[in-house]
């Protein structure tokens, strides 16, 4: 295992694209997957026990990834959660409750929209957007929080805590807590609070307490650290409503379970609209919850190529990125063994991305496994590429996407161009993109990026301020206790 990523730092950057464009290599990757899906390795009885189907992997391990690298104090809570979840997921009453909320509260099924004008920029391939941006609260995150909040109630917990990067998971958690009458505390990096001030206000409006985290990089990983500290101290009353398909078992499998609906719907919808499966499915990857949700619908369809797009930040060669699988190496962080951005001493490296939701130095363990076995290809998308895709979708489809999701759109442009190359009828190529969230929260960042703001942060030619005064310590290296 583990031959995919360039293990040694950034030295390879000068080669341009990290993942090979070499057709021979791509073919061999595909062949591996075909053999895998055909069950070729199922009989071998290897320790990794590769199953014939990749769907519904229960954990705790995904190949050699996953597990429980956690303080003993929290093991009992993880056991309780696992037990509650295992019972709930086969309990018709629970499943009906989830389905009812998905339908009548979140607004599922979300649409599958063909992006007909955008497709011209993707080599002419037909591009279909899975519209998670249309869900209540504006992203896929609602799927998971409703499920977990219901589990919290089943466990008799009265309080939920959550970490958030962009604020989408925090808003979703605050929403679910309000709906189900739970107390909610959200940990958010101070740097992210500045980047996403609107979402801080949203959470507060929904009755949640937002705690700005000033440790370390003041972003998502530090928010998770503080949430874990809270959980250890309050585990009797508190459920940790983890927002991504990472962390200790059972979280990766549990979070995926509630997002599988994305892939199931998308698969049915694309069959209904085009009469066949897509050639490729694309999603962005931070921790990887929206991606694992949509991938899940297609994992056992070997003819569907699957792509995960990581945040390439300023470019992976600069070292300022969040391309965990592309350049990381296996390690343990926040409870799971997975690819990890770390230095020679095993210290976590701070990630960088224009997108707060992808700005995380780890990744869910199932993605590490899917990368190693070659079922999913993971590639970096730079800030600039993502923002260009953001602009394109606004202008061609009238949809303002989240910057996170714009990484998937930028990836779809590349994939579409690749798959249509030399084809007489590029419209025969079908690509499904998970549009995981809407971009309302990103208006300030985008306006800044596109030079729409004056020095005071006002939209040029107006006195409309998009932001509060920028904190002086945005890039401070000091961490106060």
């Amino acid at each position: 295992m583990g031959s995919t990523p360039a293990a040694s730092s950034q030295a390879e950057g000068s080669h341009g694209d990290i993942k090979s464009e070499n057709p021979a290599e791509r073919t061999s990757e595909t062949a591996t997957v075909d053999a895998f899906l055909a069950g070729g390795r199922a009989e071998a009885g290897r320790a990794e026990g590769a199953p014939a189907s990749l769907k519904h992997a229960p954990g705790p391990y995904f190949g050699s990834y996953g597990g429980r690298w956690m303080p003993e104090s929290l093991i009992a809570a993880l056991d309780e959660l696992e037990d509650t979840f295992e019972k709930a997921k086969v309990d018709p009453e629970f499943l009906a409750e989830v389905a009812e909320l998905n339908k009548n509260y979140s607004g599922r099924p979300s649409l599958l929209t063909e992006a007909k004008r955008f497709s011209a920029h993707a080599g002419g391939a037909r591009i279909f957007l899975k519209r998670e941006d249309l869900n209540h609260t504006g992203s896929h995150k609602i799927n998971n929080v409703l499920g977990q909040a219901l589990l919290a109630k089943r466990m008799g917990k009265t309080r939920v805590i959550a970490e958030t990067g962009a604020g989408q998971h925090g808003v979703a958690s605050a929403t679910a807590a309000a709906l189900l009458g739970l107390e909610c505390v959200v940990y958010m990096g101070a740097e992210d609070c500045r980047r996403q001030a609107l979402n801080v206000a949203r959470m507060q409006l929904l009755g949640a307490t937002v705690v700005p985290v000033t440790n370390g990089s003041q972003t998502l990983k530090d928010a998770i650290n503080d949430a874990l500290r809270d959980w250890v101290a309050n585990v009797d009353t508190t459920h940790y409503l983890l927002g991504t398909a990472a962390g200790a078992h059972p979280f990766p499998a549990l979070v995926r379970f509630f997002h599988e609906v994305i892939g199931e719907e998308a698969r049915g919808q694309i069959l209904a609209q085009t009469g066949r499966l897509p050639d490729a499915v694309c999603a962005c990857i931070g921790g990887g919850s929206n991606a694992i949700g949509i991938f899940h619908g297609f994992l056992d369809d070997p003819e569907v190529k699957i792509y995960g797009f990581e945040a390439g930040g300023d470019g992976v060669e600069t070292g300022r990125h969040a391309a965990t699988i592309t350049l990381g190496r296996p390690g343990v962080l926040h409870g799971a063994r997975s690819y990890l951005m770390q230095d020679e001493d095993g210290q976590t490296i701070e990630s960088h991305s224009i997108s707060a939701g992808l700005d995380y130095p780890g990744v869910g363990p199932e993605h590490s496994y899917l990368s190693d076995i070659g079922r999913v290809s993971y590639e970096p998308i730079t800030d600039a590429e993502a923002m260009e895709a953001f602009r394109l979708l606004c202008r061609t489809e009238g949809i303002i996407p989240a910057i996170e999701s714009s990484h998937a759109l930028a990836g779809a442009i590349k994939v579409g161009q690749r798959l249509t190359e030399g084809k007489e009828n590029p419209e025969d190529v079908i690509v499904v993109v998970n549009l995981s969230g809407r971009g309302d929260k990103d208006v300030e960042t985008a306006a800044d990026w596109f030079g729409m703001l004056d020095e005071d942060g006002n939209v040029k030619g107006t006195t409309l301020s998009t932001r509060a005064h920028k904190g002086p310590a945005a890039h401070s290296e000091d961490a106060q206790a």
Binding site: E72, N215, L333
Partner: protein, 282 residues
């Protein structure tokens, strides 16, 4: 996923157990004193470690500064953040261990989150720790369930493996952890992170009792222990008392002399309480 210690582990002479037994022979519990390596610099850690050993500490616990210390409170994290900012490298911990073991009889353990060990390689880390004279590892985020590699390496190099038990641990997990450990069991006194507290949680005694009941010969209590009266209280039912945050704060505020003075003061907790003795300072 349950992995327990191999049944027929070759007998390894435990340095930690020997240090605790020496204290026991003197009619008292053992004092385990913690400081992070490299705070404020590597030589200071060695000097402070020696000072702790000379002033009543039986075991020294040296922490490896780590970027994501989820079990640590504000005081220890501030110290480890500073050490990292000054360029602390993991391999310096072996210099610290060697420096203290060369000058004292104390057993010197390393307390570390698991990723730095994994990154160096569990076997390589263990080899170098043993070579430096270290007694073993305390692993706050490694449970026996995930410790197969560490079982092998600790047996190979004769190192103690100190796992934690918590108030939330089920009897089954306590039994499994006791069986997996060597040296002593680290009983977490409270559901929380490191940090000085006014009183020691009443949960601590129950955790120690559960570990003893499961067959543990040596159980030490940590988290929230900062004063001589805490030491006295815990020594009544445990085999050792672990102090961390209070010593880190002393080092921060008064350097090595303050660490020496606090260690000496903490050790007075082992003396029989005398009327008019140490009036607690708030």
């Amino acid at each position: 996923m349950s992995t327990t210690a191999p049944e027929n582990t070759p007998a390894v002479a435990s340095k930690s157990a020997a240090a605790i037994d020496r204290a026991k022979a003197a009619g008292r519990a053992a004092l385990v004193a913690y400081l992070p390596a490299g705070y404020p610099d590597v030589q200071s850690t060695i000097d402070a470690g020696i000072a702790m050993a000379q002033n009543g500490a039986d075991l020294i616990e040296i922490g490896i500064p780590y970027s994501d210390p989820v079990m640590d409170g504000a005081v220890i994290q501030a110290a480890t953040v500073e050490a990292l900012a000054k360029g602390f490298r993991v391999e310096s911990v072996f210099d610290v261990v060697a420096g203290i073991t060369a000058a004292t009889d104390a057993a010197v353990l390393v307390m570390t989150y698991w990723n730095p060990v994994m990154r160096m390689g569990v076997d390589e880390f263990s080899r170098r720790l043993a070579e430096a004279g270290g007694a073993g590892l305390i692993t706050p985020d490694l449970i026996p369930d995930e410790a197969a590699e560490w079982f092998a390496a600790s047996d190979k190099y004769g190192l103690d493996r100190v796992f934690l038990v918590a108030p939330s641990s089920t009897p089954e997990r306590v039994a499994m952890t006791v069986e997996a450990s060597r040296g002593f069991i680290y009983a977490v006194s409270i559901m929380g992170v490191t940090g000085a507290r006014d009183s020691v949680s009443s949960a601590a005694e129950a955790v120690v009792a559960a570990a003893h009941k499961a067959g543990a010969e040596r159980v030490c209590v940590g988290l929230g222990v900062s004063r001589p009266e805490h030491v006295r209280e815990i020594a009544a039912y445990a085999d050792g008392v672990i102090v961390g945050t209070a010593l880190v704060a002393a080092l921060r505020d008064g350097g090595v002399p303050a660490v020496a003075a606090l260690t000496k003061e903490l050790a007075t907790g082992f003396a029989p309480a005398v009327a008019g003795g140490t009036a607690a300072t708030a």
